[in-house]
Structure formats: structure tokens, C-alpha cells
């Protein structure tokens, strides 16, 4: 039987929802093996009981000191010992770097930003702003694949996986760069942009006033995004930028308010399941890809929608 190892993504002791997605993909391929790099693995392992995990491998070490290079060392050593068919990692900045280094270390091909992987390890990617669907496969080594968050609904499972401790030897090369201090991302009450199932974004049409965008986001339990025009103007933090040079999101619902929908922006959101757009300009390209479009002023439409949602929930 095939076996698949996946990297458990956790920060502040909390396992990311996307790790449950990786487990679901892994289980659909073969034996699902979770790998946990943590200074306190017990806290992380306890959260793996409700996702599809057959086995857990943990490694303690100075992961907080050495960053991606050290974790890549650990994964390469686990791969050498366990010989899995594939390694799955969530497509984050750090996840892709770890995958990159593991691919080099293990002489394996790498596919990034997949939105799916089937039992034959054929991946699906959505490229060029979602205009093209590509199926690919790794042909050499093990399949090193990074998968975007929100690609699959994680299957809940009840498991009490066996836990194996693995001794990793961090190489001197991985110790060349050291982390001297770290600050966690400032978490508002809102979900993380790339993990959120709903994203409400604002663009040039907000004229710098994101209040109606934030209010609708909060009513929907959504993350807030912004177009490049809005972040370039300094209206919203760059970390919220959706698009070619920002984040790629693929939520269940994407609401674009006052965003014209240039290719640059569409590249970051076009694979959203449902797209809603509000724009004053009837010619705005975003209206062409929206499932529901309102031609109108976001300062009227958004507050009205927010009130209506709040009223429904009350």
C-alpha cells in the first residue's frame, strides 16, 4: 500500500485546519502519516485525533531556532527511513520553502500550489488566474506536493494513531541562519486570509474607507482582503493583499467590493467557489466572473447587506 507523510502545520500550539485537509488527501491515497515538529508534540498530537491519521511521527528539536532549513533536514531523514510515496505540505511561504529543500535533498520532483491530488498522485493546479486547469505528476523520487488551503473539506475521523518518536540530526548547514526573535502575527478576531471560507475584499472604490468592508466581513465571519490598489495606497495592510503579487485565496465565497478585477487581482481569487461583486462601474471586468453582481455604490449596498445578515442572525 502507498504511504503518504504530511507536515502538520501548527503555530502557537494550534493545528491549522489545512492540516486536516492534508490528512484527508493522504488517507485517500494510502496510509496517512502525520509528521509533527514541535517542542511540545503532545499538545499538537492531541489535536490529530479527529482527522484521518494512521500514524504520527514526532521529532523534537530546535525548530524555533533554525526555521525551514532544519525542518527540511528532519523531513528528508524521515523520508529516507520510511520511504513514503509522497510528502504533502500546505502551500504557505514557509511550507513551499521546506518542500523546495526536501525536493533537492531527496532528488525528488516538486509540484506546488496544487488544489487536488488523486490516488495515483496526479495533481490538479489552477493556473493563470484560474483560467487553466493543469494535471501533473512527479516522475522522479517521491512526490513532493504542496496543497493550497481550502482545497478539500477535511473528513472528520476518530483515530488514536500510534506515535513514533524520531531522532532528527539537524545539519550544520541548517544551523547557519538562526532565529533570534519572533512575533506571532497580530490576530484580529478575523480568520486568516488564506484559510478563511469567506473573504470580503475592498479596492479602489472604498476610497480608503474599509469600515463597510470590515463590517460585512464580521457579519459573515469572514477574513478581509484588499486589492493591490488599496494596499499600494496604504489603505489596508499589505499582508491582506489578494492577487498576483499578494495572497491567493480560494474560499467558498469571495465578495469583491469596489474592485475592478484586473488580471492581477483575479489571479489571486478566481478559483473561489462563489464570487459576488459590488461595483459602480457596469464595465468592471470583475462583474463578468461574478456569480452575483450588484452595480451600485458599495457604501449603500454593503451596509444594507450587513444589517440584513445581522437581522437574520438575531
Amino acid at each position: 500500500m502507498s504511504s503518504v507523510i504530511f507536515l502538520v502545520d501548527h503555530s502557537g500550539g494550534k493545528v491549522a485546519k489545512a492540516s486536516g485537509e492534508l490528512a484527508t488527501f493522504a488517507k485517500s491515497i494510502g496510509e496517512s502519516i502525520a509528521v509533527v515538529f514541535a517542542s511540545n508534540p503532545a499538545e499538537v498530537i492531541s489535536q490529530l485525533n479527529n482527522i484521518s491519521v494512521d500514524k504520527v511521527i514526532t521529532a523534537t528539536g530546535d525548530w524555533d531556532k533554525y526555521g525551514p532549513a532544519a525542518i527540511a533536514d528532519g523531513l528528508a531523514q524521515i523520508i529516507a527511513a520510511k520511504k513514503p510515496n509522497a510528502l504533502l505540505i500546505t502551500s504557505t511561504a514557509t511550507g513551499k520553502e521546506i518542500a523546495a529543500r526536501v525536493a533537492v535533498k531527496t532528488n525528488s520532483g516538486i509540484i506546488t500550489d496544487a488544489v487536488g491530488v488523486d490516488k495515483d498522485l496526479i495533481t490538479t493546479q489552477s493556473v493563470f488566474g484560474g483560467s487553466t486547469t493543469v494535471h501533473s505528476a512527479v516522475t522522479t523520487g517521491i512526490s513532493v506536493i504542496t496543497l493550497r488551503a481550502n482545497s478539500i473539506e477535511p473528513v472528520a475521523a476518530s483515530s488514536t494513531p500510534a506515535v513514533e518518536e524520531f531522532a532528527v540530526n539537524i545539519s550544520d548547514a541548517a544551523k547557519l541562519a538562526t532565529i533570534t526573535s519572533a512575533t506571532a502575527a497580530v490576530k484580529g478576531g478575523r480568520p486568516e486570509l488564506t484559510e478563511a471560507s469567506i473573504v470580503v475584499s475592498g479596492g479602489r472604490g472604498t476610497n480608503g474607507d474599509f469600515k463597510p468592508v470590515e463590517a460585512l466581513a464580521d457579519a459573515l465571519g469572514a477574513a478581509v482582503g484588499a486589492s493591490r490598489a488599496a494596499t499600494d495606497a496604504g489603505w489596508y495592510p499589505h499582508s491582506h493583499q489578494v492577487g498576483q503579487t499578494g495572497k491567493t485565496v480560494s474560499p467558498q465565497l469571495y465578495v469583491a467590493a469596489g474592485i475592478s478585477g484586473a488580471i492581477q487581482h483575479r489571479a489571486g481569487m478566481q478559483t473561489s467557489k462563489t464570487i459576488v461583486a459590488i461595483n459602480k462601474d457596469p464595465e468592471a471586468p470583475i462583474l463578468e466572473i461574478a456569480d452575483f453582481a450588484v452595480i451600485g455604490d458599495l457604501f449603500n449596498v454593503l451596509p444594507q447587506a450587513t444589517e440584513k445578515i445581522k437581522a437574520r442572525k438575531a
Binding site: 525551514p68 532549513a69 504557505t92 511561504a93 513551499k96 520553502e97 518542500a99 523546495a100 529543500r101 525536493a103 533537492v104 520532483g109 516538486i110 506546488t112 489552477s126 493556473v127 493563470f128 484560474g130 483560467s131 487553466t132 486547469t133 494535471h135 501533473s136 505528476a137 512527479v138 523520487g141 547557519l176 541562519a177 538562526t178 532565529i179 533570534t180 519572533a182 512575533t183 506571532a184 502575527a185 486568516e192 469567506i198 499589505h238 499582508s239 503579487t245 495572497k247 465565497l253 492581477q264 462563489t274 464570487i275 459576488v276 459590488i278 457596469p282 462583474l287 466572473i289 456569480d291 452575483f292 450588484v294 452595480i295 451600485g296 449596498v301 444594507q304 440584513k308 445578515i309 437574520r312
Partner: protein, 269 residues
């Protein structure tokens, strides 16, 4: 300091892109310097300027900035742009055998060329706007066994101590990372505002040297690069079926309510 900046010519990110035979069709689109590489060039210039007696880059600074790029002959256009910003010279690795190379092969070629240059720092953008894999800087660091200081939103270089410190910025927070030379850096687009080439810079760039190397002049075997050596393969690439025409209405006072009705119907609110 000897600084290398890896740059790439990419199809204009504002243009529609298409696949041709399993790879990106590069022939029929405008090609430009990868947006995100401009930040790397700018950061290299700022590092040199801050440590130059003349406050300028160039020979008198006692430091050098070499651009390294892999691509077709026409990539010299993108290289000239980066030279006109102020980089000193450039190396273009160009060979028909390199066409279709994956990120692994690309990082191999770049690493071999970097190894031969005795650099203190290699600076990259975080990704190219065409492939968007964001893996090459990490692969170069891995191959060279150099420190990896990537996704930098701030870079502090101490040439006397031969050390560099960055603030790594990712979606999960910020980390201060430090290392001794040599190191591979990637910089995010928030780090600086790339300068426009001045007229003087454009004129000076025309006289700067672009050294073109073919594959035989690197130490990489031809069997390790190109489409046939790629370790992953595209099975098919299909245009996504167009999204079904959606509902479009003009707000006449109840647009917000109608929007919510749509969301409720779709079980999204």
C-alpha cells in the same frame, strides 16, 4: 562586498497567459523584468549605497552588484533594465538545452554560476510572476549550503562583521533571523520602492557588460536540465470552462438585501 541578484524575464503579468505544449507560451507575449525582482535589485543598491564612501553604487563604492539570469537571448532586455537601475554587470546563462527546465534544474544552474563567483550575498525576489512557485531561493540555499534568509521585509548588513540580519515576514508572523556571509536572501515587495532608471542610468547601462554563458561553460551536465530532465510532467492543461453567466443587477435601493437573499439561497449566509 560582492552581491549577486538573481533576476528573470517573465511574460508581462498584465497579459493573458496561455499554455503551449504543456509549458507556458512565452513566445507570443511581451516579456518584462519580473516585478518582484526589482525589489531585489533595489535592495542590493541600497545595501551598497549605505556602505559606499560616495553613497553611490558603482566601482568607487568598493562593492559590486552582478545580475544573474537564466533565459533566452531576449532576456537581455530585462537585464538592461536592472543594469539601468544601477547594477554593475550581468551574467546570462542561455542555451537551447535549458528550455523547459524545472525549478530544480534552474536552481542547479544558478547555484553553479553563483559558486564560481565568490559572492557574499545572493538576493532574489520572492517568486517569479509566471511560475509563482517561490522555491528557487530556498533551493539555491540548500544546494550551496549557505544560510537561507528569505521573505525579508527588512535587511541589515554589517560588512565589517560579514553578517546580515533580516526580518522575515510571513502570514504567521515576523521573525528576526541572522547569519554570517555568505547568505541567500529573498525580499518581499514591501521592503522598498524600486527606483525608476534615470536617463544617466539608462545610458550607462548600454556600456555595461553582459557575459553570456552557454551550458558547457557552467559545470552542469546537459542531461540535468531542460524539459527531458524535468522531474515532474504536465499530463494536460485545459482551459477552465467559463464560469456560467451570473446574476447582474443594478442597485435601486435594495441591492444589499438582494445580495443577502442570494447568499441565503446558496447557504453562504
Amino acid at each position: 562586498m560582492k552581491i549577486a541578484v538573481c533576476i528573470k524575464q517573465v511574460p508581462d503579468s498584465w497579459a493573458e497567459k496561455k499554455m503551449a505544449g504543456g509549458v507556458l507560451d512565452r513566445a507570443n507575449v511581451d516579456a518584462v523584468l519580473n516585478d518582484l525582482d526589482e525589489y531585489a535589485v533595489e535592495e542590493a543598491l541600497r545595501i551598497v549605497e549605505a556602505n559606499s564612501p560616495t553613497k553611490e553604487a558603482g566601482e568607487a563604492s568598493g562593492h559590486s552588484i552582478t545580475l544573474i539570469s537564466m533565459g533566452p537571448e531576449r532576456a537581455t532586455e530585462a537585464i538592461r533594465k536592472a543594469l539601468s537601475m544601477g547594477a554593475d554587470d550581468a551574467i546570462l546563462i542561455s542555451d537551447p538545452a535549458l528550455a523547459g527546465s524545472d525549478a530544480l534544474a534552474t536552481s542547479l544552474v544558478l547555484s553553479e554560476v553563483i559558486k564560481a563567483g565568490n559572492y557574499d550575498l545572493v538576493i532574489c525576489g520572492t517568486e517569479s510572476t509566471d511560475a509563482r512557485m517561490s522555491v528557487v531561493p530556498a533551493m539555491i540555499a540548500e544546494r550551496l549550503s549557505w544560510a537561507q534568509l528569505t521573505f525579508a521585509g527588512k535587511v541589515k548588513v554589517d560588512p565589517a562583521a560579514k553578517s546580515v540580519e533580516i526580518e522575515r515576514i510571513t502570514e504567521f508572523g515576523n521573525q528576526v533571523m541572522s547569519a554570517a556571509f555568505p547568505a541567500v536572501l529573498s525580499v518581499i515587495e514591501k521592503i522598498n520602492e524600486p527606483r525608476y532608471p534615470s536617463f544617466k542610468g539608462i545610458m550607462a547601462a548600454k556600456k555595461k557588460t553582459i557575459t553570456t554563458m552557454n551550458l558547457a561553460q557552467t559545470s552542469v551536465a546537459s542531461t540535468a536540465v531542460g524539459a527531458s530532465a524535468a522531474w515532474s510532467t504536465v499530463k494536460d492543461a485545459l482551459p477552465r470552462p467559463p464560469r456560467g453567466a451570473g446574476v447582474k443587477l443594478t442597485d435601486e435601493g435594495s441591492g444589499g438585501e438582494k445580495l443577502v437573499e442570494f447568499l441565503v439561497e446558496k447557504r453562504l449566509a
